[in-house]
Amino acid sequence: MKLDAKIPEGPLAEKWEKHKFNVKLVNPANKRKYDVIVVGTGLAGASAAASLAELGYNVKAFSFHDSPRRAHSIAAQGGINAAKNYQNDGDSVFRLFYDTIKGGDYRAREANVYRLAQVSVNIIDQCVAQGVPFAREYGGLLANRSFGGAQVSRTFYARGQTGQQLLLGAYSALMRQIAYGKVKMYNRTEMLDLVVVDGQARGIITRNLITGEIQQHAAHAVVLATGGYGNVFYLSTNAKYSNATAAWRAHKKGALFANPCFTQIHPTCIPVSGDYQSKLTLMSESLRNDGRVWVPKTVEMAERLRKGEIRVSDIKEEDRDYFLERKYPAFGNLVPRDVASRNAKMMCDEGRGVGASGLAVFLDFSEIIQRIGVEGVSQKYGNLFAMYEKITDENPYEMPMRIYPAVHYTMGGLWVDYNLQTNVPGLYATGECNFSDHGANRLGASALMQGLADGYFVIPYTIGDYLANTPPKPVTTEHPAFQEAEAQVRERLQRFMGINGTRTPDEFHKALGHIMWEYCGMARNAEGLQHAKQAIQQLRKEFWSDLKVTGLNEELNQTLEKAGRVADFLELGELMVDDAYNRNESCGGHFREEYQTPEGEALRDDENYAYVAAWQYQGDNVPEVLHKEELTFENVKLTQRSYK
């Protein structure tokens, strides 16, 4: 298979303009003859569904949530980037492009990233017009803050609830189109398979989560905006229901899965407190603007602290190691996430971690509290501090926070070309669900930007190009491919119900998460990955012979839902391990211990690995085939990332 990214010709800065001119248009009267399915109504899906409906297409939108407003996007805290340069501090489209490519450790496509930076400015306009209450300065203009991996202030925010406000904006646009009858919304409906007819995506099979009813839906094109797969690790900052099923089912129907091993471990999360832990809570990266990360200088002191023999306040200023400021004077506490996470792990591995388990470092606000007072800090971070206190029962105004890295975001996802189309014609992927823009590491505040760029400003153009080449004839579910896909879905559900074993879906999920975190987490090596592969295969066998699910299919059955998602995680997990094993280099969030510089930084191998690894499914328990999309860099020079 030859992978064609369909990147338009011409200078970087003109590609998108030219492409928009060159794509075919569907004439306005014909648009209502096309049906488009959008699966997922988080930022990427709600924005796409609303925008496509505004253009005149008939949209059917699906979400397993009870309302689009509950999508995982709602939880994003810190902000959204845009190259507005409102602060006059030297930002530009090119700088945002450059920071994103560099931040991604040169494993993303130049053309996609440049377009992202270009449309970023329109997103902010759009959101403000919808009534999104961004933070403002006293003069009434929009405020900005800085985020990791950047030296300019380009992040727009709404206190610590930016994702909520952006999603409610997209949700309101979607609700408006539902009221107009242009979008039909299917809540609490889970896509369980993709239907491919004559090589083209033509529909989906769904299960109504309240009644268990299985349905077929046909359309001229299908857009997946179903989010990331960080929950492979069981514990992550993702919402509990976030899962990989839609993307994975599409993968098994032919869509390539790109860079599955590129996962982002976020440096500032509340540490694990016990076995019962069901998820991890992020403390927004924006806190690193003012919080200083440190551990005790000596192992001995850290030990005494852990045992409770001394208190934090007993550690004198000169006995504190602000290790990020020390090692990276230029960026300090604002180094990118992968760098911050790895350094926190190093400190803990050295025995200088804090908290009872030793798996935490301090994030200290005493300096900013002294500078602007408790009131000022509360203005900026009040809700985050309150959340921290609720979970840990400790007051961060008085004690430094304890934080530790946790799985947060997946840069990998369905392979898409410049048009956000997968290799299956008619199947598109947007938002966290695709792999397109963040390379091996995503910069903070760039996921919201990408989701909304894809949904508001890219897909509405590029999908038209495909539809214009598709006859505007009504589509139906008549084709046998629909019956076949439905039969497979039913058969699988019955299999879950029929095993009658002894272990719950959650138990399998936790076991998988443990393997993934241990061997395919913040640091990986060949030996560990080989071990993980076997362990996952074994676990999968046990899953299919010892799973326990009670109740019926024909009712709200959350155990059955969970079983399906865990079954898919058990397959995806193995592919992540294969991908990590294949990539004999370190880059961004993918750190192979064998490949590091003498200072312990990621050591890339641009000669052999400057490619997108796109995997093709071959059948259950058969190794997948790797396709490579070579990455060419014409506008940036590949260097070792330096934040010193």
Partner: protein, 261 residues
């Protein structure tokens, strides 16, 4: 690390949980024992323990809604010991921790009860009425593209902050559940005042409030009699001031427009 409270002892608790197979079935409170509950667990993690236990025994786990477990998605919605989201003010169910309870406690767990929120199963309810109220007008009618530059219309910080405060409503429905009339006024008013405060919301100001209030009535929510338990139980502190704004907006709209028959 045993969190904040290393000396806190695990607890044994009795739960009385509402079980109801589906929307039309009869429901009842059923007693369960849970043991060895760490005070650092969240309330939902405690229910996870119960559910794993039930599953191992071959019984159906208790259905409940949740997702983010961070207090922001608005999914979780338990009525605990007679209070929406339980005993801790300003806290969603998912952010409620077991340290707020004592060993030996009996905890009653019920779904939101309101005619407009039918029970799906056990503790899960259908809140789609909220979506339909937003569909009636809870938006600014702008299409994608063709909008002015974001800094073209300055908004005084104090106004932006107030709009933000109203906009933080998570759509959980605790206001309805805690109101003896099952009124949705706090929810509706939060959206109405957010958009009434901002310049972007001005054009549709009158139709919006009329249409949203009409839809609210149609969904079968009760009337507001100004008792204020909604704001007292709202986990994100949506203030009663919003209801005052809604009433003002509604009267002004009615007095000056013929938008609705």
């Amino acid at each position: 690390m045993a969190g904040s409270n290393p000396n806190a002892k695990p607890m044994d608790l009795t739960l009385k949980v509402w079980r109801q197979r589906n929307r039309t079935a009869d429901g009842q409170l059923v007693d369960y024992q849970v043991k060895n509950i760490s005070p650092d667990m969240s309330f939902l993690e405690m229910l996870d323990v119960l559910n794993e236990d039930l599953l191992h025994k071959g019984e159906d786990p208790v259905a409940f809604d949740h997702d983010c477990r961070e207090g922001i998605c608005g999914s979780c919605n338990l009525y605990i010991n007679g209070r929406a989201h339980g005993p801790e003010p300003g806290t969603t169910t998912c952010q409620l921790h077991m340290r707020k309870f004592k060993d030996g406690d009996t905890i009653v767990v019920e779904p939101w009860r309101a005619a407009a929120f039918p029970v799906n199963r056990d503790l899960s309810v259908d809140r789609s009425a909220f979506d339909r109220i937003i569909q009636a007008g809870g938006y600014v009618s702008v299409n994608t593209g063709g909008v002015p530059d974001a800094n073209e219309i300055p908004v005084p910080k104090s106004i932006a902050d107030r709009a933000f405060d109203a906009a933080t409503c998570i759509g959980c429905g605790a206001c309805v559940a805690s109101c003896k009339n099952a009124s949705a006024m706090l929810f509706v008013s939060a959206k109405v005042s957010q958009l009434a405060l901002l310049p972007q919301g001005q054009v549709e100001r009158k139709t919006r409030v009329e249409n949203m209030v009409a839809q609210m009535d149609k969904e079968g929510f009760g009337a507001c009699t100004n008792i204020g338990s909604c704001a007292a139980e709202c986990p994100v502190g949506i203030s009663l001031e919003n209801i005052a704004i809604l009433n003002r907006e509604f009267l002004a709209a009615k007095a000056t427009s013929n938008n609705l028959a």
